[in-house]
Amino acid sequence: MTRYQESQRNIKIGVFTLIGICILVYSTIRVSDRNLSSKGTYTVSVVLTSATGLTRKTPVQIAGVQVGYIESLDLVDNRRARVGLRINKEVQLTEDVTAQVRTKGFLGETYIDLMPGRDENLIKPNGEITSVNPYTDLSELTSKLSAVTDDIKVVTESMKRNFVEGGNWDQIMSNFAQLSQKLNTSLSSVSNITQKIDEGKGTIGRLVNDEETIENINQAAKGLSETIGGVNRFQAEIGYHLEYLGNSQSVKNYVSLGLKPRPDKAFLLDFVVDPNPPDQRRLTTTDVTSGGVTTTVTTDQSVTIRNKFLISAQLAKTFRDVTIRGGIIESTGGVGVDYKRGPYGLSFSAFDFRSDYGERPHLKAFGQVNLTKNFYLLSGMDDFIAKNHERDWFVGAGFQVIDEDLKSLFGAARLK
Amino acid sequence: MIQLVNICKSFGEQAVLKGLNLEIPKGKVTVVLGQSGSGKSVLLKHMIGLLRPDSGEVVVDGTSLSTLSDHEIVPFRCRFGMLFQGAALFDSLNVFENVAFPLKEQRQLSSEEVRKIVEAKLAAVGLSGIEEKMPSELSGGMRKRVGLARAIALEPKIILYDEPTTGLDPIMTSSITQLISETQKRLKVTSVIISHDIESSFNIADKIALLHEGRILMEGSPEEVRQSKIPYVHNFINGISTGSEV
C-alpha cells in the first residue's frame, strides 16, 4: 500500500469517525434537552399521600401547558411521597399554588396539574408546594363511604340510646352534623368521578393502569383461590450447580428442586453426581471348613464407586436469617443449617454418621455469594474431619430459577 | 551455542522426541538429517522456543528457555533467524514488505537503508525485481528463496534453515548452499540446517547429526559419520532401503 493510499484511507476513517461522533453527540444532546427553557430550571417539591402512577419524567402542566417534569420520588416519614418537580425558570409559582395529580387520555396517562393562586409571594427554588388537592379515585371513595356508614352507625346507636334512655339531644345533633358533612364530601367525590367518566377522562384507563388496583384484584383472586382450592402460594425453585473439588480434581454436579408451601417452610430435593465419593467398607463373613474345623473368615473390603448417583431430600424451616434442615443428605441421614443475609450465605451440613470403622461424620461447609437473583458462586471445604479420606476444598457456581422467573422466561418476551 | 538436554515431546499419543540430547556448536554449521516425519522440524522449533518441550531443557547461550515466560521469550528471539519449511511468507504483504519486515521491526533504519538491504538480499537469492509481487503469485521455490532472504536479512547470530534447498533446481541448490556457507563464514553465525541433500550437506557441515526414532542416533564430523559402522546410518547416507523403513 502506497503512502497515498494510506493517507486516503486514514482520511476515510477520520471522516467516518467524525460523523459517527457527531451523530452520537447530536442524539445525546437532542434527547437530553427537555425542550423546556433556554433560561434554565429550578426545583420545588410537593408531598403527596400517594404517588401512584407517577414516574420520573411525568409532565407538570399549568392550564394544559407543560412547564416541567418530575425529577425525583422519595418517601418521607415512611408514609408519604415527596415528589421533586423541575420547573421551567420562566414560570413563576406563587406560594399558594395548588398541585393535583390528574389523568388524561384513555390509557390514563398521569400528569401533575398546578393551579396558580392569587398570592403575591413567589415560591423560592427548592421550596415546597403546600397546597395539594386530593386525588380522587375509587379506593378513596370507598373508604369515605365506609366512614359514612360508620358514622351512621354511631348516630343510630346514640339515637337508640337517647330515645330509649332519654339522653342528650345535642349530642345527636352534632353527630348528625358531622355525618351530613361527610356525606357531602363523599357525594362530591362521587360526582367528581362520574363527571370524569362522563367526560371520558381516563378513569377507566386509570383503573386499568393503576398498579394498586391490579395488585388488589390479584390479592383478592389469590385469597379466593386459597379458600377454594387450598393451593396457596406454592413456590417452586429449580437450580443447578457444580462444585470443582480441588484435591480430587473432579466436578460434582447438583440438580435441585425446592418446594415452598410457605415462605418459611421448604422441601428440598437434590440429585447429586459425585465422581469421587468416600470409600465404602464392606464386611463379609464366610465360614471356611477345612480339615473338619470351621473357621469364620471376615474379609474387609473397601469399595470406591466412581460417579455415584446420590439423592438428598430434606425438610427445612426458616427463622429469620437462619434455616434449619434435615433428612436425607447424599443418600445418608443428615442435618444442616444455613445462614443467609443479603447476597451472602453460609451453609453447614453434617451427614453420613456411620462410624463402624471409626469414620467420622461427613462435614461440609461453604459460603455463597449471589451475583444476581439467579446466579451464584460458592466455595468451601468438604469432608474436613474425615480420617480415611483426604479433606477437600471446592469452588463452584450455579444458577436457580423460581417459578416466577420461569413464567417470565416463557411468557411474552419483554423488551429489556 | 545451543544445548538440548533430554528433550521429550509428544503430540497427543504420538511421541516425537524421546529424550533427545544435542549440542549445536557456536559459529559452526550443523546439519540435522533424518527421515521424513522423524521430527526434524519439531526439533528446530524447540531451539527457538516456538514449541516447548514436555520435559527437558533448551539452553541458548547460557539462558534456559524454560525460565522465560511467553512474554519474555519474544525479545529473546532477536538473535535468531529462521527459514520455515513452508516459507511462511505473510500473504497480506508483498515480497518487499516480507523481507523488510524483520528490518522494520527490529532496527531503526531509514527507508532508504531498508530498501538497499532488501534489494541486496533478494539479489543474493537470485530474485531481483519481484519486490511488488504477492506471495500467492510466486512458485514454491521462489517462495522458499524469499523466506531465506527474510531469514538472513537481519544477519542474526543464529540461523535455522528448515530444508533450504528442497524443491530447487540443481543450479539453484548449489548457489543457495554457497550462499549459506558464505553467510556463515562472513558473519560467524551459528547455522542449523535441516536437509535431505546428503551430498551438499557433507560439503558444508562442520557437524552432522542424524535423528532417528526421537533421539540423535549419530553425531560427529562429516568424516566420522561417513565412516560410521551403524547399519542404519550407513544405509541412510547411502540411500539404501532395507524395505523396513515404511
Binding site: F16, G20, V255, V273 | A88
Partner: protein
C-alpha cells in the same frame, strides 16, 4: 436423570474451559496493549475494515429494524390511540437494546468471522510462528490492533444504527402512515434520555471488546488445515454471538444499577 446431569456438567466444564482460555488470552492482550510501539497502521487497517466496511450492512439492518418496529408499534398502539408513542418506543428500544446488540451481531458476522479466518489461516500456515521467530508478538501485531479497532468502531457503528433506525421509523410513521410529525418527535425527545444513549454506548464498547477478543482467540487456537480454519470461523461467530447476548443481560442489570435514569 444421571446422564442428563453428567451431560450438563460436561457442557458447563467445556464452557468454563473456553472461558478460562479467553481470560488468559485477555490477560496477555492487556499485557501487550501498552507495549510500544502502538501499531497505527494495522489499527487503521482494522478500523477501516470493521468501521467503514460494516457501515452498509449496519445502515441496512438499522433502517429496516426501525421501519418494521414502527410498523409493528403502529399496529398495536392504534388500538389505544397512542400512535404518538411510536417514536419514543422505537427510540428507546433501539438506543437501549436493539442498537448495541444488533450492531454487535452484525459486526461479529462480518468482521469477527473474518478475523478468526485470517488469524486461523496464518496459524496453520506457520505465519504466526514466523512472526514469533522474528521477535514480534502475534498478540501485539495481530490481536491488539483488532481489539482496539473493535473498541472504537462498534460504538460509532451503534451511533449510525440508532440514527438510521430512528430515521427509518420516522419515514414509516410520518411518511407512509401519515401520522403527525410533532408528537412523534416530541415524544421521542421526551422519553429517550441521555442515559439511554450512554448506556447503549457502554454496552457497545463492551460488545466490541468481547466479540473481537473472542474471534481473535478462536483464530489463534486454530489447528489442522483448512477444515480447522472453517471450524474456527463458525465457532468464533457462535461463541461471540452467544456471549454478546448473555453479557447483554448482565450489562443491562449493572447499568440499571448505576445509571439512575436508564
Amino acid at each position: 436423570m444421571k446422564r442428563l446431569v453428567e451431560r450438563l456438567g460436561f457442557w458447563i466444564q467445556k464452557i468454563m474451559e473456553e472461558f478460562g482460555e479467553v481470560l488468559s488470552f485477555t490477560a496477555s492482550f492487556g499485557r501487550w496493549l501498552f507495549v510500544p510501539p502502538f501499531r497505527w497502521r494495522q489499527t487503521m487497517e482494522q478500523m477501516e475494515f470493521i468501521g467503514i466496511g460494516s457501515l452498509p450492512v449496519i445502515a441496512l439492518t438499522g433502517l429496516f429494524t426501525g421501519m418494521v418496529f414502527a410498523l409493528q408499534a403502529h399496529h398495536s398502539f392504534r388500538i389505544f390511540h397512542a400512535e404518538a408513542l411510536i417514536g419514543s418506543t422505537v427510540g428507546l428500544a433501539l438506543s437501549r437494546e436493539i442498537g448495541p446488540v444488533f450492531t454487535a451481531l452484525m459486526v461479529t458476522a462480518r468482521a469477527g468471522s473474518a478475523m478468526a479466518a485470517e488469524i486461523g489461516s496464518m496459524k496453520v500456515t506457520e505465519q504466526i510462528d514466523a512472526l514469533e521467530s522474528m521477535a514480534v508478538s502475534p498478540i501485539h501485531y495481530l490481536v491488539v490492533p483488532r481489539v482496539v479497532a473493535g473498541l472504537v468502531m462498534v460504538p460509532i457503528l451503534y451511533g449510525f444504527f440508532l440514527f438510521i433506525g430512528v430515521a427509518g421509523a420516522y419515514f414509516v410513521a410520518v411518511g407512509l402512515l401519515g401520522l403527525p410529525e410533532a408528537p412523534f418527535l416530541s415524544k421521542l425527545y421526551y422519553y429517550v434520555d441521555m442515559d439511554d444513549v450512554i448506556g447503549g454506548l457502554m454496552k457497545s464498547v463492551f460488545f466490541g471488546f468481547l466479540l473481537t477478543i473472542i474471534s481473535c482467540h478462536r483464530g489463534y487456537r486454530t489447528s489442522g488445515g483448512a477444515q480447522g480454519v472453517g471450524l474456527s470461523t463458525t465457532r468464533a461467530v457462535v461463541i461471540s454471538s452467544v456471549t454478546v447476548l448473555v453479557a447483554d443481560y448482565f450489562l443491562t442489570s449493572w447499568i440499571l444499577e448505576f445509571l439512575p435514569n436508564f
